[in-house]
């Protein structure tokens, strides 16, 4: 997963560290709305719900979950590509 992520050029990174559930997901949705198709957006989150919330949303909204990466301690980077 990490090697795939390293090769993925992020179009944008959202720093949602310190934001509470469902804050990081809500930030991602706002950004996806204005992004272009094919854009890859990373979300930095310290909320433990994000690693289950964002994949569930991506599946439901039919966007591609590129991967989840450990950043530092409890901080994860969740990467989603806008597909439509």
């Amino acid at each position: 997963m990490t090697s795939v992520l390293n090769q993925t050029q992020l179009t944008k990174e959202i720093d949602a560290r310190g934001s509470f559930c469902p804050g990081p997901l809500m930030e991602l949705i706002r950004n996806i709305k204005t992004a272009n198709i094919g854009d890859t957006i990373g979300v930095l989150s310290s909320d433990k719900g994000s690693i289950t919330d964002i994949p569930a949303w991506a599946a439901k909204a039919r966007h591609e979950l590129v991967g989840i990466q450990d950043v530092n301690g409890d901080i994860k980077r969740i990467v989603v590509r806008k597909t439509h």
């Binding site: 310190g18 934001s19 509470f20 559930c21 469902p22 804050g23 997901l25 809500m26 949705i29 706002r30 709305k33 919330d53 569930a56 949303w57 439901k60 909204a61």
Partner: protein, 137 residues
């Protein structure tokens, strides 16, 4: 037709307003059409200026109002009203005010936060929430 989610929000205490707002945001994010029916304490909480009001705490947290306020501020927890507003930004969320409560407390729609759309009777809500995953909070 998209799936539906409905909440009857009866409580005006901060813990339940917070829970209802987070559930609403999550349901809106997941693409559900959300209807929130505000009644009694839940409706009173939506009076204009809600975000500036001192929170009402339930019995198990009585006397902890100030401490809760400090914790929320220190941890940057958004106000429940902000959660409801973000829910509306990302999805379809409708706030309906219970007509009986409006009369009981002499309220007009203009006395409420502008996100509240309409004053309706219970039968309207029942029709609106038909087939929805429904919670009473």
């Amino acid at each position: 037709m998209s799936e539906k989610f409905a909440i009857i929000l009866e409580s005006g205490t901060m813990d339940k307003l917070m829970a209802a707002s987070i559930l609403t945001a999550g349901a809106a994010a997941m693409g559900k059409d959300v209807t929130v029916f505000l009644t009694f304490g839940g409706l009173n909480a939506f009076k204009k200026g809600a975000a500036q009001q001192a929170p009402i705490m339930p019995n198990e947290f009585k006397g902890m109002e100030q401490m809760m306020g400090q914790i929320m501020q220190a941890k940057n927890v958004p106000h429940w009203l902000e959660n409801f507003k973000s829910a509306q930004e990302v999805g379809s969320v409708k706030f309906l005010a219970c007509s009986a409560t409006m009369e009981m407390f002499d309220l007009k729609l203009s006395d409420l936060e502008p996100i509240v759309e309409e004053v309706v009777g219970v039968a309207h809500f029942i029709q609106e929430s038909e087939g929805a995953q429904t919670l009473f909070i």
